[in-house]
């Protein structure tokens, strides 16, 4: 096991959520981090102007919302499951429900089905109002797969 993943495991055992995001360069660059202040594991993408995809509306780039939902699923799996390695994405289907306004976006992952090799995760993303989601995703990951 590598130092980075070992650090991740220690972070989980110590309940150190911030260390999860620090282990993944893309999460850091995008400003994505997990939080559980409300007792459930959520992943927040802090708004910054570089996330914009449509300058006229303005609206977040759809790709960033897809990426957030993938990250939320990975944080969830790392936190909830005893993985030997990072989950490997097989596929993702993103439904875009509303345009993402220039504010923070929050995503919540739920494991729909946990198999021995593959796990199916549903993710919902919203902004200020959780009852008005901006996007929903279904993602398959390989877990504990040989590298």
């Amino acid at each position: 096991m590598s130092l980075r993943l070992d650090r991740l495991r220690k972070a989980r055992d110590a309940g150190d959520l911030a260390a999860l995001a620090e282990a993944i360069p893309y999460a850091q660059w995008m400003g994505m981090a997990p939080e559980n202040s409300t007792g459930e594991l959520l992943t927040r993408m802090r708004y910054k102007p570089e996330l914009i995809g449509n300058t006229h509306l303005p609206a977040l780039h759809g790709g960033t919302i897809g990426a957030l939902m993938e990250m939320a699923a990975i944080f969830h799996l790392l936190w909830e499951l005893d993985n030997e390695s990072l989950p490997k994405i097989v596929n993702i289907t993103v439904d875009y429900l509303r345009s993402g306004r220039p504010v923070d976006t929050i995503a919540k992952a739920t494991v729909t089905k946990q198999g021995r090799r593959v796990v199916n995760v549903s993710v919902e993303a919203w902004q200020e109002d959780r009852s008005r989601p901006v996007a929903a995703a279904q993602i398959h990951f390989l877990v504990n797969a040989a590298p």
């Binding site: 590598s2 995809g53 006229h56 509306l57 780039h61 790709g63 897809g66 990250m71 990072l86 596929n91």
Partner: protein, 160 residues
């Protein structure tokens, strides 16, 4: 338009003026009616697995969304705002660390309401893909038209 000029116009409208595409460093490397090709250099901050240096899937999601949207724009004869409705991506094999990724998107059908796209990402050989994608875009969405969303109209006028 000469090819190089055409590429620089598309680069300006589909990457340099779209903040997230610019931040990623997306390069427009090919365009014709219905088809868009982009290139993404490997960069350390785009890595999803620090053990292997493999890019985070979501970085490719953004690239494929952007490239598919550009393919839709090349089909428009009237300027029209549009937005991604859904996007499915299959990750076929991990991107090789330190190698650039090419995405090639095709808009194969445009109706009044919906545009249909498919895309493939690879390291130079489309028959050995990293990712493959199917997308739909909602046409005539709210808001004003971006320069990028009216470029098909210009292309159509200039076509021989």
């Amino acid at each position: 338009m000469a090819d190089e000029l055409k590429l620089s116009v598309f680069q300006a409208w589909f990457s340099d003026t779209i903040p997230q595409n610019k931040a990623l460093g997306l390069q427009v490397v090919g365009v014709r009616r219905g088809v868009a090709t982009m290139k993404l250099e490997w960069q350390p901050h785009l890595v999803g697995n620090p053990e292997t240096g493999v890019l985070f899937g979501g970085a490719l999601t953004t690239m494929i969304d952007a490239c598919s949207g550009m393919a839709v724009a090349t089909m428009l004869t009237e300027p029209s705002p549009f937005a991604t409705l859904d996007l499915r991506i299959d990750y076929i094999k991990p991107a090789t660390p330190r190698q650039a990724v090419i995405a090639e998107a095709t808009c194969f059908k445009l109706t009044n309401n919906v545009a249909f796209t498919r895309a493939v990402a690879h390291h130079g050989d489309p028959d050995d893909p990293i990712a493959s994608s199917a997308g739909t875009f909602m046409m005539g969405t709210k808001g004003s038209v971006l320069q990028a969303q009216s470029i098909g109209a210009r292309l159509a006028k200039e076509a021989p």
